[in-house]
Symmetry: C2
Subunit: 351 residues, 2 copies
Amino acid sequence: MNSPRLNATLELIRDLSDDNLARQVEEHWASLTKPRHSLGKLESLLLHFALIQGVPIPRLERKAMFVFCADHGVTQEGVSAFPSEVTAQMVANFLTGGAAINVLCRQFGIEPVIVDMGVRGEALPGVVNLKIAEGTCNFAKGPAMSREQAIEAIETGIELAGEAARQYDVAGIGEMGIGNTTSAAAIFSACSGLDPEETAGPGTGLDPAGLAHKRMVIRAALQLHRSATDPISVLAALGGFEIGAMAGFLLGAAAMRLPVVVDGFIASSAALIAKSLAPAALDAAIFSHCSGEPGHAAMLNFLGVSPYLDLGLRLGEGTGAALCINLLESSVRLYREMATFDSAAVSRESR
Amino acid sequence: MNSPRLNATLELIRDLSDDNLARQVEEHWASLTKPRHSLGKLESLLLHFALIQGVPIPRLERKAMFVFCADHGVTQEGVSAFPSEVTAQMVANFLTGGAAINVLCRQFGIEPVIVDMGVRGEALPGVVNLKIAEGTCNFAKGPAMSREQAIEAIETGIELAGEAARQYDVAGIGEMGIGNTTSAAAIFSACSGLDPEETAGPGTGLDPAGLAHKRMVIRAALQLHRSATDPISVLAALGGFEIGAMAGFLLGAAAMRLPVVVDGFIASSAALIAKSLAPAALDAAIFSHCSGEPGHAAMLNFLGVSPYLDLGLRLGEGTGAALCINLLESSVRLYREMATFDSAAVSRESR
C-alpha cells in the first residue's frame, strides 16, 4: 500500500531502549555533585537524548528548527480568525527575522529552516521550496489531497530528516499554516474517535460562535471521509502538506537516530500519523510542551507522551520546541560540565 | 520591635500594580505578529517584569544569581542525607565553577555571587563574606539564632539588594546549606499551622525512616518554640542565616524595584518571612518553579503565587531560578524584537 521508499524507512526504525546505555547514563548522573535525581526531568530528558544518539556522552552543538509552511483549503469554510493570506505573509516575516521563532532561534543559537510545502503564490527566495501544490483542497467538500500527494509529503519529510541527520545534533519541528488547527483536530478525531468537542479549540482566536462552526465543519468532514482509516488515507482526507512532511520527518529522524523536538498541537498531529505508520517512530521524538490549545493535552495523552513545559503557548512556528531545545541544552551542559564528587572532593550521602 | 533600618525599608515598599502601564504593555503585545495572548505565560511574565521596573519597555541585560550559604545546627539531629561539611565543600565547588548553578549561569550569561552568611570554618577567598556565625544553633534544643542575629541577617540581605539594584536588571536568589529543608519546613509549619507531614519531605534524599525522624524533630521544635509568632521570632527560632538574608533581599528588592527570581523550597520559605513583614514585598518577586520537594506546591499555594516551571528539580543553588531568568529573557526579547503587524505587513484577525 505504501511506497517502496516509505517502506524502506519504516524498516529501519528500531526500538531505541538500551538498558546498558541507560545504566551508564544513570551512573554518570550519580557521580556529579548534587543529590541523586535532583535535576528531575532534566535527567530523564538527557537520558532520552543519549538513547536516541546511542552514546553515553551525547553531543548538542548544531541545532536547527524546521518550520513547515502550507495553506489549507478548509479556510474557505471560515474556520480561522485570520485570513489565509497570513500564511504567506508570515513566511515573509520568517525570512526577515521578525517572527517569534526568529527571536528564539537567535537567543538559543538555533538555525531556522523555512520549508514551503504548499503556500499559495510563488515561493519566496530564501525558503526551501518543496511545494506540493498551492494549498490543499477544502476537506469539507472532498479529500484535502490525493494519496500520491500524501505520500509525496511524507517522503519529502523523510528526505529532509536524512539531510538534517548529517548536519545537526537536534532538529525542532514547527509549522505555519492558517487553518491547520482545523486539520490537526480532524486528524486527531479520526485517529482517536473523539468528537471535535474534545479535539478542536479556538486556534488563533475564534470566538465561541466561530468555534462551534469549526467543530460542525470538522464533524461533517469526519462523516464525509469516514472510509479513511489507514494513516495515509487520513492524511490525504484531512491533512495538510506541512503535517505530512512533519510525519515524514519524524519517521526519517527515527530511522536516522536524529533527535526531534516536537512543537505543539499541529506538530503533534503529525506524530499521530507517524506513530500509526511505525509505533517506534516516536522513540526519537521529544515532546516539548503542552499547548494552550485545549485539545493538545488529550492528544499528548493519546500519544502516551509527557511534555516538559506548560506555558500556555499557542503560537506554533516551533516556539515551544525552541524553548525545549534550550532546556535540552541545559541538561547536556549540566551532564557534561558538572564536577564529580571525586574531582571536587565533596562528601557523598551518608545514608 | 524591628530595627530602624528594617522599618525604613518596609516603609518604601509599595504595591506595584499600575493599570495604565499594564495597558501599555498589553497594547504592545497586541501589536506584534502573533495571535493575541498566544505567548501565554511569557506575556504575563513580561508584564510582571515591566510592572516591577515601572517602564513599558523593560531592560534585561545585567543578570546576577545570589547564592546564600550557611550551616545549620539542626544537622546534629541527623535530619539530612548528606554530612554537614558538604556546605563548605559545595561553596568551594561554586568558586571553581563545578556546581550545577555554575553551568547554568555560564549558559545564560548570569553572574554568580556566592554569599557566605554563616558557613562553618574560614570564609573562602572569592565569597562575599558576611558570616553572622559559623552555623546556627540546633533549633531542636533552643533558638537557632538570637533576635539580633535574625535582624542582622535580614539587614544584610537588604543591603545586598540595594547594591544589586544599582548593578543588575534582575537577580535570582538561591541557597546552599545542609539541613536547610528542615529549617524551611519548620518555618512553613510555624507560619501556616500545617503539620510537618504536609511541609517536610526527603530533602537531598532521606529514606522513609529518615523522613519520619525529620518530621518528628520538626514537630518537637514547633512545640518548643510555640511562643514564636511574629516573623522575626520565627526566623530566630527556626531559621537559617541564608533564609534571613534572602528574606531581607526580597524586602530590599521590593523597596528598590529590583526584580527578584525566587528559586525553590528554601528560597520560598524566605518569602514567607518577607510577606509576613510586608505583604507587598512579593510584588517584586517572580516565583520560578515548583520543586520536587513535596511541600513546595503547598508553600507556593499558601503564598498565593504561581510558578513558571515544573520540572521536578530539587537541587537548590538557584538552579530553577536560573532557568526562569532565561525564560524571562526570552519574553523580553520577544517583546522587544518581534515585528509588528504594520512593520511586517501582516493582516490582522478578521474576527
